[in-house]
């Protein structure tokens, strides 16, 4: 049953992404991208990342895509002419996509056991929980302290410096956006 739900969400996400690329109207494109992000949030929930799934909806759908829609509305784009690029770009796209599909074929067969065997460099299939102790530890942590609590400790201890740098990045982005969008400084 869970597998069916996963593949249902996956097909929805891919369909949304394809339609986002093919639609000529930027607003329709944004709405399709929004559907992709909702499906992805469901997949995050299935993968056991409840907090990330909720943040996906809050940040991507609630903030980023709304900004996109606002800008589309501000620009008032009414041009209906197709803006798909020419044959050279199409050829490049097909080559790049082909390479990525090859990579995909390799990724699809990965199971935790194979990954563990690869990393441990053992000829036989290794036990994933022995190679990846951290995953089990954080899962026990999530049971003991809740999903958010389990993320709080590493975020404010191990990753404290990157977290603080993020705040500087956001400040720079705010100032930059205001300066760029202003008519006269």
């Amino acid at each position: 049953m869970t597998e069916f739900i996963f593949y249902f969400f996956a097909v929805g996400a891919v369909l949304g992404a394809v339609m986002c690329i093919l639609q000529q109207n930027a607003v329709v494109s944004a709405i399709w991208l929004m559907s992709t992000m909702f499906w992805l949030a469901g997949i995050f929930l299935l993968l056991g990342a409840e907090l990330i799934g909720i943040l996906q909806i809050l940040v991507y759908v609630g903030a980023i895509l709304v900004v996109f829609l606002f800008v589309i509305m501000l620009l008032n784009l009414t041009r209906a002419a197709p803006d798909i690029r020419g044959p050279v770009s199409l050829g490049t796209t097909i080559v790049v996509i082909g390479l990525l599909i090859l990579e995909l074929a390799a990724l699809w067969r990965y199971t935790p056991r194979r990954l563990a065997a690869d990393i441990a460099q053992s000829p036989m299939l290794a036990d994933p929980s022995a190679v990846f102790a951290a995953g089990d530890l954080s899962r026990q942590d999530a049971v003991a302290r809740g999903v958010v609590g389990a993320l709080a400790a590493p975020l404010f201890q191990t990753y404290l410096v990157p977290f603080e740098i993020t705040s500087i990045l956001l400040l720079a982005a705010i100032v930059g956006a205001v300066v760029l969008a202003k008519r006269k400084i």
Partner: protein, 102 residues
Amino acid sequence: MPTTSFLGPALGLSAILFSLGVAGVLLRRNAIVLFMCVELMLNAVNLAFVALAQLHGASGYIMVLFVMTVAAAEAAVGLAIILAIFRHKQSVDLQNINLLQG
């Protein structure tokens, strides 16, 4: 209780979505749709992080938080740049934006 689920399919889906994002960036000329495709690529990366975080612990989730922050900052600044260019050129078609072509 299974320790990990859907590792391979999630990584595969992530690769498909990333490829579609690349395709969008290469194919479209509308700067706003191009930005949306960049967001799609960032989302695909998030999916790979979440899938592998099942094995590697909480670090993957925290990376996703950072990616989301960077995506938000990038969207704000990028769209401000698009607004400024549109005010100058009256167009967001990348064919008309060739200021740096010398």
